[in-house]
């Protein structure tokens, strides 16, 4: 597939990720796992992934998300957060605004 030959674009610390607006974060009580639900799909994730995604509101930057989680877990998590979110973006489940200014409320 031509898509595979594309060079992956790095995700900068200033990027402001948000869950794809079509998708919804939920908890599956049958499998007892967090899950991302989207049209014709369900991606089961772990608690760490859920913690990251819950902070992805389109306003916080990747650096800010890593800061919040770093404080919570007392560790430097920036590299892990970047790697996870880049993967989610490449799957189309996370959308990223690269600009420095957050979207205006109500826009």
């Amino acid at each position: 597939m031509p898509i595979a030959s594309e060079v992956p674009v790095a995700l900068g610390p200033e990027a402001r990720p948000a869950l794809w607006r079509v998708a919804r974060l939920d908890y599956d009580r049958v499998r007892q796992r967090p899950v991302i639900l989207y049209p014709e799909g369900a991606l089961f994730i772990n608690e760490t992934a859920r913690a990251i995604l819950e902070l992805c509101d389109g306003n916080r930057s990747v650096a800010e998300i890593a800061q919040v989680l770093g404080d919570r877990y007392q560790a430097d998590v920036l590299a892990d957060v970047v790697e996870f979110l880049a993967g989610m973006r490449d799957r189309g489940l996370v959308q990223v605004a690269e600009s420095g200014s957050p979207p205006q409320p109500g826009a």
Binding site: V22, R24, D28, V35, L37, P39
Partner: protein, 369 residues
């Protein structure tokens, strides 16, 4: 041993204002009086969620003709399912859409037949384009994620670029470009629907370029024209693996075309719990695993990829659902598909989808090939 299902397609009714000749519904369809009740559906939705289902497709026919649609949507939301309304959009007024939003509907998929209104309405068999465009705007306005679905065939494939641009203009989050799959009415109309190899190759290049171009703005799903493929498609992740379909009269099926497989024992959600149906019914176990497979599937490494292809297609084209899917070039049965591709085209000679045949319509015959 059965895993957990993820997806339920609830075909609420066969009633539909459109008459598309590529409909995947069976040729013989129950009328309104044969449909199962609101309570039946609520019970099925609860049982499905208990069994592991997360994705609910509300389909048909046209699901909007069911007056209890928002009751079922609300029930699905309470149970924790992601619900998609699969609709022609005829009957999707602002008031109806607002009620569905309030009930917790997650996502709306609207079918468009073509970008050109004349050919779109020739396929649909009714005037519909303006209503669809208005409904798409309402859906967007209310904040629903929108998927535009277009079934592709000989008469619209050459306008693929314009079709993609139309979906973007409508504000679609997703665009499903589905080459016709030849089941039900589509199989009957195959000679009028099959595109040429040149059309298919050109469309594939356009779709691949568009997938890249619209990445991050509109997700494009391109359902391959399997008659022109080398290997068959994996049918819903394998028979009885992740997918359950319930028909308007309550039959539980592992696949759309399964009503056509004559030697299956059908089970009804009015008589059995969905968990029993999933785990123990003969129909859901008929083609699980690989013990049922014949050669070359049984010893083929691809059996883990495509499970021997579609059982319904194998039955429809060969009369034996345990045969390899004739799309596969590794089986001598492929000659059946090759012969279909060589048949002379029947441009525009559609047999439209009706709940019962209008007077004078040709009798239902065996597909050629």
């Amino acid at each position: 041993m059965a895993g957990l299902p993820t997806t339920l397609l609830a075909e609420l009714t066969y009633r539909c204002p459109l008459h598309c000749p590529y409909c995947s519904n069976p040729l013989e369809m129950v009328r309104a009086e044969g449909e199962i009740s609101t309570e039946d559906w609520k019970r099925v939705l609860s049982q499905a969620r208990e069994l592991g289902v997360l994705q609910l497709g509300l389909s048909g026919g046209e699901p909007l003709v069911r007056k209890d649609l928002q009751v079922l949507v609300a029930h699905a939301r309470r149970e924790g399912m992601y619900s998609t309304l699969v609709t022609s959009a005829l009957g999707l007024t602002r008031q109806r859409a607002e009620r569905l939003k309030a009930a917790g509907l997650d996502h709306v998929q609207i079918s468009f037949q073509d970008v050109d209104p004349v050919t779109a309405e020739r396929i649909a068999g009714v005037r519909s384009v303006r209503q669809k465009e208005e409904a798409a705007a309402i859906v967007r306005d209310l904040g629903f994620p929108l998927t535009v679905n277009v079934v592709l065939h000989r008469a619209n494939l050459d306008r693929l670029e314009a079709i993609i641009a139309m979906a973007a203009r409508l504000g679609a989050d997703r665009l499903e470009l589905a080459n016709t799959q030849y089941y039900g009415w589509a199989l009957r109309n195959r000679a009028a629907l099959l595109p040429t190899r040149e059309q298919v190759e050109r469309a594939r290049a356009i779709a691949e370029a568009a997938i890249r171009e619209y990445r991050g703005r509109m997700q494009i799903i391109y359902v391959l024209p399997d008659y022109y493929e080398t290997y068959p498609k994996p049918c819903y992740g394998g028979w009885g693996n992740v997918y359950i379909l319930v028909t308007p009269d309550g039959k539980a099926l592992p696949c759309h075309g399964a009503t056509q497989i004559a030697d299956l024992q059908f089970v009804n959600v009015r008589d059995h719990d969905l968990a029993w149906i999933w785990e123990h019914s003969p129909i859901f176990n008929a083609f699980r695993g690989d013990a049922w497979m014949k050669e070359p599937c049984r010893t083929c490494p691809r059996k883990a990829v495509d499970f021997g292809g579609c059982r319904c297609q194998a039955f429809a084209l060969t009369g034996d659902a345990a045969n390899p899917d004739p799309v596969c070039t590794l089986t001598p049965l492929r000659r059946i598909v090759d012969r279909a591709l060589e048949e002379p085209p029947l441009d525009g000679a559609y047999v439209y989808r009706w709940l019962s045949e209008p007077e004078g319509a040709p009798a239902v015959g065996e597909p050629a090939g």
